[in-house]
Structures are given as C-alpha cells and as structure tokens.
C-alpha cells in the first residue's frame, strides 16, 4: 500500500566517545532521564507526527534495541500497514552488505523504501534528544518545492562538532561545512533530512562502489555542487546530540534544572513514550532527604538522594548518599556508600561504604569500580 512518507531511523553508530556506556549497548539504547532510552525521542516524535512506516537501520549491537522496540506498540507504531521494521546488514549475490556510512546504509535498504512508493523520505538519527512534530518540516518542504530539507538549530556549545549551514533570506542552504574550525554561520545541521524520494535515489545511485558515504560528508556537498534545491528548516526547541559523557550528563541534568526545556510532563502536545518495565511505583522507605531528583518505578530508597536521576529498580540502602549523579537501572548502592558526580551503569553493585566522589563526571560500572576508588572508608 503506498504511503506518502517513509521514515528511516539510523541507529548504526557506536558512539565511541561515550566510552563504557556504549561498550555493550548501541547509542540509541542508552538510558536517559531515568526511565527513557535515547531512541524513545525519535520514536515518540514519529508517533506524535502520525508517521507509522519506520525502517530502523541497525548495525552495531542491534539485539538489545530490537528486543526493546519489539513491534513498537509502546509508541503506537504497531500498525498493520507499515509499522516498524528492523533493517540489518545482509548478504546477497553481490557479497556482504556491510554499511559504509549513513548514506550507504540507506542505499542498501532502498528496496524497503520503494515498496511503499512514498513521495518523501524522512531520515533521522536514533540518538538525539529533542521533541519535534515533523509535520511542519514536511509541509515546509512541500511548500518550497525543495529536493532536500535539513533541520537546523543554533548550538550553544562548540560549533566545530557540527555540520554548519549557511542560509539565505529564504532559508535556502547556500553553503555547508562539515565540522569547521571557524564556522561561518550559527546554524548547525540536526541530521534530520526530508528528501524527495526521487532526488534521494538519484543521489544514492551515483555513489561509487567501494567508498564510505555519509549524508553530512558526502551527500550534502554533492547535492549543493549539483545545484539541488536544499532548504533549511529552523528548529527553535531544545536539541542535544549527546555524543559525549559530558553532554549526556548535562542533558540529563537539564531535566532537573530546566524542566521547561523538554517539558516531559506535557502529555497533551508531544508526549514522550517509553516501554513499561512492569514495576511498581518506587518506595521511599528511609528517613533521609530525597530532594531535587527524579526517581523511577521500582526503586527502593532508604538513603539520601540529592540532585540526581535514578532509573528503575535502583536500591539505595540506609545511610548511603547520592549526589549530582545519574544511576542506571537495577544498581544497588550499599550502606554508607557515597556517590558524587558519577554515571553508574546498569546492574552495578556498589558495596557498603564505597566512596565514589569525583570532581569530573565519571562513568562507573562493575569492571571499573575497582580502579576508580572502590575502596572502603
């Protein structure tokens, strides 16, 4: 059955700068805000934009993600015509189809796009933090008659991390620099693209066989060169590419310090969905303060928690103190343990009286805890 729009979500990247956090997890499956995973943002955005044909292009550690998303029912994406499809590398008569960059990944799965005969293809990343209704961007794309529309935002941190876009008065993209040292514009690409399907196909088919191909590095400069109409779509909301430990930590802390940024409590306009873990509400059982924090279901808290985010099923025992930290699911924090400025990964067991107090945000897991000062008081 033909669909107007097909969305392709790229979840292939490993996100090496997140160190141990992505050692066993694809970046989109990284925990965020206690009960969410990064992929929840893009899936919820799609659901809120009523786009329900979604190809999830995976490569690195796909199983956890596949297991998590399942049929997409948590995001209302389990529809009979379309729905969520996992697109993994495969082998055919031309040999093994290992992905060589983002654009190449899409090229491999063109057959998937074609079966719905869409007019437009929306290309997204599975690891960004933002709430957005894509409808407006798509209608801008339609109105301007562009071949490609790229969502852009004004980053507030180091611009040299991004692909910088120079726009003209009509928001048409006139110049593009990938990760420049001296950016010429305030606008950076969000890695969100709306393509006319035919234009996308033309650009992809012309790719050379044995090179790597990214949208940022290769496709966009090529399209600019060949005078394709590229439109910029300015997004004014909160957007974070949490590619580093610091940015991941900061974006989490933004939930505590600036709840107005992501408005997680606003379920009416753009609710953020996630898959339920079937745990009871958390239980504050101790007599110590729990303040300025977000606590998820299934936690049992007997100690002190200040300015921290706790995922599901965390146990904080008597006299333990957690401060300015992010604790992932099912971590057990023993009696008299002190944790400050840490990201503690899933299932870490912190023995009683362990002191994990850091000046700089530090990732802790069962392997690294010994080197990081897992000594007792």
């Amino acid at each position: 059955m033909p669909k107007k729009i097909v969305a392709m979500v790229l979840v292939g990247g490993r996100g090496t700068r997140l160190e141990q956090i992505t050692e066993k997890t694809a970046k989109p499956a990284v925990t965020f805000g206690g009960k969410y995973k990064l992929i929840d943002f893009v899936l919820s955005n799609l659901s809120n934009s009523f786009i329900n044909v979604v190809g999830v292009v995976t490569q690195y550690e796909p199983h956890e993600l596949m297991n998590y998303i399942q049929h997409g029912s948590s995001w209302d994406l389990d529809v009979s015509e379309g729905g969520i499809h996992f697109l993994t590398p495969y082998t055919n008569s031309e040999g093994e189809q290992w992905q060589r960059g983002t654009a190449h990944a899409i090229k491999q799965h063109l057959y998937f796009i074609e079966q719905y005969k869409p007019e437009y293809v929306l290309i997204l990343s599975g690891d960004h933090v933002y709430k957005m209704d894509y409808t407006e961007m798509i209608s801008t794309h339609q109105k301007t008659g562009a071949d490609l529309t790229i969502a852009v935002f004004k980053p507030c941190d180091d611009k040299s991390r991004y692909g910088i876009m120079s726009l003209d008065k009509t928001n048409k993209v006139v110049e593009f620099e990938e990760k420049p040292d001296n950016p010429k514009s305030d606008y950076a690409s969000m890695g969100i693209y709306v393509f006319n399907k035919e234009s996308l196909k033309r650009l992809l088919v012309s790719l050379e066989a044995d090179k790597t191909f990214d949208f940022g590095k290769d496709i966009i400069p090529k399209a600019l060169n060949e005078n394709y109409h590229i439109q910029g779509f300015v997004f004014n909301g909160y957007f974070r590419d949490v590619g580093t430990i610091d940015s991941l930590y900061q974006a989490n802390m933004d939930l505590l310090d600036h709840p107005e940024y992501l408005k997680l409590h606003d379920y009416k306009t753009l609710p953020l969905y996630t898959r339920s873990k079937d745990l009871p509400p958390h239980h504050i059982a101790g007599k110590y303060p729990v303040v300025q924090s977000m606590i998820s279901d299934g936690c049992l808290i007997m100690g002190t928690v200040t300015h921290s985010i706790l995922s599901e099923g965390v146990v904080v025992k008597d006299h333990a103190i957690i401060q300015d930290s992010i604790i992932f699911a099912h971590v057990v924090v023993g009696e008299y343990a002190v944790i400050k400025n840490a990201i503690v990964l899933e299932n870490t067991v912190i023995l009683p009286k362990t002191r994990l107090v850091f000046d700089k945000v530090t990732v802790v897991n069962n392997e690294t805890i010994w080197q990081l000062g897992g000594k007792t008081l």
Binding site: T274, G286, S293
Partner: protein, 805 residues
C-alpha cells in the same frame, strides 16, 4: 494443564464504594498508585500462561474497557480464545452481589465454544498474587466437585468448577433454586465442596476501609514483596509519565510515589498516584492519592482517599480514620468546611408540622448539622397548625410584594430559632392556611407559589452556601434559580419517588418557564432532578435501584442523565431508640448485657396472650400492611410456616389494606395462642415488639431506606429482610461458614425464598445459639447514627459548595 483452564473474572458486584464507583466499577479502581484492581486478576492469568478469560462487568464498564483494551498487556489479544468482555444483556436487572447463572446464560455461547474443561472463577477486586494452576491442581487432587477458595475466614467468591457442571447450571438457571455458585456450595445436595484456604497475602476489597488498608499494606516489605515479586510481575496499562520529581522541600517517609508526580511537601505512609502535585508544606499521611490530584500549600490530609483530579485548596484540613476514610469525588475541589451553611426548603419539619417521616428527617438532620458546626436554616410554608401553635414565638423579619398568577400579593417572612436551627416561615393566607397541608386541587399552584416566595426572600435569610430541597414541593427552585441566573448550588433529596408533583392546567403560563419546559405539564420532581447541582436519596442501594424502571418509573431517564451527580446516603436513627434507656420497655438492656431482653420477650408473650417460653421464637412486624411491604408473600407463607414450626409465634403492629388484614385475622383465629395482631398504627408504641421479639420480619418489595430494621437491630432483634434499598445497606446476611452477618436477607421476591429464609433464621436460633448471640451483638453495635448521616451529608455539601466566593 494451562490450556485446559479458562478464567471467569466476576466484576458484576458493586460492593459498597459509593462515590468511588460513580464513574467506574470496582475492578477499575486504582491501586498502589499505578495499577487498577483488575490488573491483579489479569496478571495472575498471564503469569499462569492462561489464554482464555471472560470478564462479566456490571453497568458502568467503560473505564474497565478502556483500561483492559484488547488485553494485549496480558498477552490476551489472541487469534484463538483471548479476552472477552461479556456485558449484561438485560439492563433492567438491578445489581447483584455476585455473578449469577442467569448472567452466564446470557453468554452461554462463550462457555459452549470454549474448549477448556476447567473454570476458575474469581472476582475482579482481589489483591493477590495467586498461582492459579497450583490451585487447580489441588482441586483436581481433592476429587471434589467444586473447590472454593477462602482466606482468613472470608469467602473470596473464587471457585474451581468443571465447565460441564457450570454449563448445565447456566443452561437451566430458570429452573434452579440456586442463583450462584456460592448457593450451590451451600445448599445443593450431593455436591462435594473442597475448601482451599489461600496462603499468602490476599485482600478482597469491598469498601473504602479495606481499600485504604490494603493500599497502605503495600508499604510493608513483607507484603509488598510477595505482591510485586520479580517472578510474577503485575502488568498494567502503559502511561507516558516521566519519573517522579522531588523538589527542594520534599520530605517523604515510607511512601510509594508513582511516575509523573511532583513532590515538594511532606508525605508519610501514603500511596501517591500518577501526576499528583504535592506542594510545599502540604502534609499528607496515611492516605491514598489518585492520579492528577493537587494538594496545595499548607494543607493537612490524613486517612483520606482522594479520587482522580481532586484539588485540595490552600489551608484545608482533611481528617478521616482508617475505618472511615475521608473519600473525595472525582475532580472535587475541597476547601475548609468552617463556614459552611445550608438552607433547607421543605414542607414539613418536626415539631412544627408532620405527616410522615420527612418531618423527622429534616429536623434530625438540621440539628445534627448544627452540632457539626454547619449553620442550618429551614424554611417552611406557614401552615395553619404552625400559626396556631407558634404565632407568639416567631417574629416577622420581612414583608414583600409578589406578582403571582396575575395577582399582586403580599408575602411575609417570619423567623424563630428552635434547638439552634433557624426556622423561617412563609406566610400567605390564601395558599397555606388550610386545614390539611396536602391534597388540595391547587397543590401545584400552592407549592409553585412557595418556591417563588423562597426566591423572593433569599436576601432576607441569613447567608447560606447551598439550598437543600426536599421532595417535589420545593422542586422548582433549581430551575427558577437557573432561569434568573442566580448561582447558588442546590441539592435535592428524594425521599419518595412516588410523589412527583405532576401538574397540568397551564401552570407554565403562570411561571413563564417556556424557555426550559416545552410541554404543557410540569413534573416538579423531574425538574428538580434535571436542574439540581447534586441529587441524593435515602440509601445507596435505592440510589442504584432507581436506575431501573421497576423502581425509578417514569423518572428513570432523568436519573440516568444525572447518574454521576446522584448519591445515596443512608438515613440515621435517633439515639432515642436505645434499649438501655427506653422507659417504655419492661427491662432495660445493652450490648454488654443482653440477658434482660428475655424478660421483655416473656412480657411480650404475656401481654399478647401467647404461649410463654424463651425457647419459642417470636417473629415481630411493625409496618404498614400494604403490598409494598411484602404482604402478598407474607399472607401466603405465614400459615405454612406456623404449621411447620411449632415454636414460631407472630406479633404484628400496624394498619393498612383490609384484604390483607382479613387474611391475617383468619390466621390469627387458626393459631390463637401463637399469633397476635395489633391493628391500628397509633394504638400503641412499637417498642415492646422491638424489645421482645426475636426477629423482625420486613420482606418489603421496595424499601427506599426503612427505619424499623435499624431500630430492631439496636434492640437486638435480628431482621429478616429482602435485599432491597436501605434494607440491603443495613443488613448483612448471616453466613454459616464464616459466621459473619447481622441478620437474614434474601434476594428473590418469591414465597419459596421467603419461607426458606425464615426457616434458616429459625434453625440458626435453635441450633446455633452462639452464632445467634454474635449476630445480635454485632447488630447492636452497628452505627446507624444521625451524626454519621450528617457527616456524609456534609461531604456531599462540600462537593458542591463553591470554593471561591
């Protein structure tokens, strides 16, 4: 084995949740913050791997349907079998206490089509984590026909029964003397029943006390762990709520908090639902707060159940108890009750004017409201008998002109205080000063005038927040207020649906209400139902019964329209009725010393010229002798009972229809020393019957509230009643297994059942004297006080009193 078991979830009961179930059924009640009660039943099913489930809901099952959906969360969206919601087909049937064979017969195809051979039946409102298959195994090993699951001496209405057996009962429901599986286990001959005593935590939730208690039990590690164990999770509908947020001033001790909540106040021992906001300096303890509630600054909430969306305004103090938690209504706005004041509009109030029970209710309620700090005024027409007796006492406070029925008339308002209640009287010679107060051809015009006159004097009466109108005579007030755009909330009490004030002859011309009423007749009570802010009647069961045409008659539709604003509050009994202080009985007694009751029994036998002896069993009646009170059955059954049971004696005080009286007199002649009739209601006080009889018979076909059964219970006389109206709310049927109950009651209105129930009561008296004594004491301890009624009424007033004036 799991493929051979199907589960029936019995959600047909309504239990006694009152306002908590106005817009949902008990199975859909929230539990432990993020769950609904039915999640436990469904999760037990899922954890057992069973895939065929039928839910039998009662009336309002939308919220259940919404929650359960296709059953996907519990793996019940199947191609084969799956989840079935089987609603009642016959909506004219009043609510039952449990699933009947008749209900099953309505969906007999379901049972026939299902391939499973064993049926596990359980109610929707039990909190437990039960291994269904393990219990089915126990049942099979017992070789019994039926297994019943009990816990802690409470019937869990849970059964394991072969499907073939259930099918044959359901197919032949109309020919059986049993309505439910429970009846079969108790009465059917030749059926072997195996009782399984469930181990582990379980609670069957039937009332606000149980509801709050078991919610708070989840805060105990030993209990919470067994219910929410990791091997057997409880599944619920997914909701998009972020983790709960704790702000700077949060202070939480031993509480469960669900997603989406903002906590900045002080919480102790409480369960907080989703998206609740608890502001700085709000103190919440021992309470259950449902989703989307807001508790503002500087508040105190203790032992409360706050329904969804309740707002507790700044500075409000709410205090309930574990036994009687404060219960709010969905979306209620709660403020302090300090300056609540009420204006009652009625045509009767003791001691001024009385033709029936209404007069006592108005006076008793007003006095008890005043005792609880609610300023109360009552406004009455100045009938002739009031004028004769009180003209020296009351003072004129206002005099105004009113154009009514194309006539300019002068109306006066008088005032006096009686027992701290403000009484106002509206004086108008033409309409009110007659020999009798009702029964005139122009009653409609007279009371329409009364309603107009009340509005005329609104500013002359001491200020009030709510107008509380009684019965049809004040029924136009809500409409008149609307028509004149006066924003005062109103509450209607329906004492008797039979008197509606239906008026023809162009009353609409007089009142000029064409904007609201198109027909040329006006039904006062109907208008009151349609326009009052809140509607109340005299018992919770009667409130439910009125939804059915059999009871609600022509007003069923209007009442259904207002269903969510319609409440039942049981009338109270005056503390005058007390065997410990009653001067009219031979020997005083109390719950701690019931023995002197026997002296009263012998005295009753002596004065009534009955055979004397404490082993005799006296059935008393204090009643009007009419069809409604059950005399169609009594006259058919009585003779047979007396013949069959030589110990039975019968004493009646009352008056009524002559054809029943004649029949009763024949019986009296046939059993001269065993039956005594006292015809004439005013002949003598009934107290000697209440004190002397063993049981009070009250098999009314319809009984909105009923007072005799409550008085009898206070006098240690066990009631035998039909489960209708207030009788159903006051009498708990004796269960020989659990020894629970306060009397004897039956559901089906037929001679066989009545005879059977009388016989059961007698056998309990004869063979289980200890149980019988327990029932007496339990009945005497039951609280039917006016004070309790007034408290419930205040809760209703608070629902509609405007928070910001």
């Amino acid at each position: 084995m799991k493929n051979n078991v199907l589960v029936i979830i019995d959600a047909s009961g309504k239990d006694s949740f009152e306002r908590l179930v106005l817009h949902r059924m008990p199975g859909a009640l929230p539990f432990a913050g993020k769950y609904r009660l039915i999640d436990f039943a469904l999760s037990n099913v899922k954890n057992a791997g069973i895939t065929n489930v039928a839910i039998f809901p009662y009336g309002n099952y939308r919220s259940l349907q919404d929650h359960v959906g296709s059953g996907k969360r519990w793996d019940l969206d199947r191609r084969r079998d799956g989840l079935f919601i089987l609603p009642p087909k016959n909506l004219a049937m009043p609510t039952e206490t449990m699933l009947t064979f008749q209900r099953m017969h309505e969906h007999i195809e379901y049972l026939k089509r299902s391939s499973q051979e064993i049926v596990f039946v359980m109610p929707a409102s039990i909190v437990w984590s039960i291994d269904i298959l393990e219990h089915v195994q126990t049942h099979l090993e017992s070789n019994a026909d039926i297994s019943e699951i009990m816990h802690d001496n409470i019937r869990f209405k849970s059964y394991i029964i072969p499907k073939s057996m259930l099918l044959s009962y359901a197919e032949n429901y109309d020919a059986l003397p049993y309505q439910t599986i429970q009846d079969i286990t108790m009465k059917a001959p030749g059926i072997t029943v195996n009782t399984i005593h469930y181990q582990g935590y379980a609670r069957y939730i039937t009332d606000p006390f149980n509801y709050l208690k078991s919610n708070l039990a989840m805060l105990r590690f030993d209990i919470g762990k067994t219910i929410f164990s990791q091997d057997r999770p409880i599944y619920s509908k997914e909701k998009p709520a972020p983790p709960a947020r704790y702000l700077d001033y949060a202070s939480v001790t031993n509480s469960m908090v669900s997603s989406g909540s903002f906590i900045n106040g002080v919480i102790t021992n409480s369960i907080i639902g989703r998206d609740v906001i608890i502001e700085k300096n709000a103190h919440v303890s021992n309470s259950m707060i449902m989703s989307n509630a807001v508790i503002e600054e500087n508040t105190h909430v203790d032992y409360a159940i706050l329904d969804k969306g309740t707002i507790v305004k700044k500075g409000t103090f709410i205090e309930g108890s574990l036994r009687e938690p404060f219960v709010s209504k969905k979306d209620q706005i709660i403020t302090n009750q300090t300056d609540l004041s009420i204006l009652m509009v009625s045509t009767e109030s003791t001691p001024f004017v009385k033709t029936g029970g209404l007069a006592d209710v108005v006076n008793d309620l007003s006095r008890n409201l005043v005792k609880k700090g609610v300023k109360t005024s009552v406004i009455l027409p100045l009938f002739e008998e009031i004028k004769t007796k009180y003209s020296d006492v009351y003072k004129k406070v206002a005099s105004k002109r009113l154009v009514f029925n194309q006539e300019a008339v002068k109306v006066r308002l008088h005032f006096m205080i009686y027992k701290n209640v403000n009484y106002y009287f509206i004086e108008h010679y033409k309409y009110f000063e007659r020999e009798t107060i009702y029964g005139h051809d122009d009653d409609c015009l007279r009371f329409a005038f009364f309603n107009e006159a009340v509005l005329l004097f609104l500013d002359d009466i001491e200020s009030f927040d709510i107008i509380h109108i009684h019965d049809w005579h004040a029924g136009l007030i809500p409409l008149l207020l609307k028509e004149r755009d006066i924003k005062i909330p109103t509450m209607l009490t329906i004492h008797n649906i039979d008197y509606q004030g239906v008026c023809h002859q162009g009353l609409n011309e007089v009142l000029q209400l064409k904007r609201f009423i198109k027909e040329d007749h006006i039904n006062f009570l109907e208008q009151a139902i349609l326009h009052a802010t809140l509607i109340q009647t005299v018992s919770p069961t009667y409130r439910d019964e009125l939804r059915y045409e059999y009871f609600g008659k022509n007003l069923t539709y209007a009442l259904l329209k207002r269903e969510r604003d319609f409440h039942g509050v049981l009338n109270g009994v005056s503390s005058r009725h007390d065997p410990a202080t009653d001067q009219l009985i031979l020997s005083n007694y109390s719950v701690d010393n019931v023995l002197p009751k026997l002296e009263n029994k012998l005295f009753l036998q002596e004065t009534m010229h009955l055979d004397m002896g404490v082993h005799k069993w006296i059935v008393g009646m204090v009643t009007r002798i009419t069809e409604q009170k059950g005399f169609e059955l009594i006259t058919q059954v009585l003779e047979g009972c007396l013949e069959h049971n030589q110990d039975m004696q019968f004493v009646l005080l009352g008056t009524g229809d002559s054809h029943y009286i004649e029949r009763l007199k024949q019986i009296e002649q046939k059993f001269p020393n065993r039956v005594k009739l006292n015809i004439g209601f005013h002949a003598t006080v009934p107290n000697y019957i209440y004190a002397g009889a063993d049981v009070l018979l009250m098999p009314s076909r319809v009984e909105p509230c009923g007072l005799s059964q409550m008085i009898a219970m206070k006098y240690g006389t066990l009631p035998i009643v039909k489960q209708t109206g207030g009788l159903n709310d006051t009498v708990v049927n004796y269960d020989p297994v659990t020894k629970k109950g306060t009397g004897f009651s039956f559901y089906n209105y037929d001679t066989h059942t009545l005879k059977q129930t009388i016989f059961e009561a007698y056998t309990t008296f004869k063979n289980h004297p200890k149980d019988y004594q327990k029932l007496i004491k339990r009945g005497m301890r039951t609280d039917f006080s006016l004070s309790k009624q007034a408290s419930k009424m205040i809760e209703l007033y608070q629902m509609i009193a405007h928070p910001e004036k």
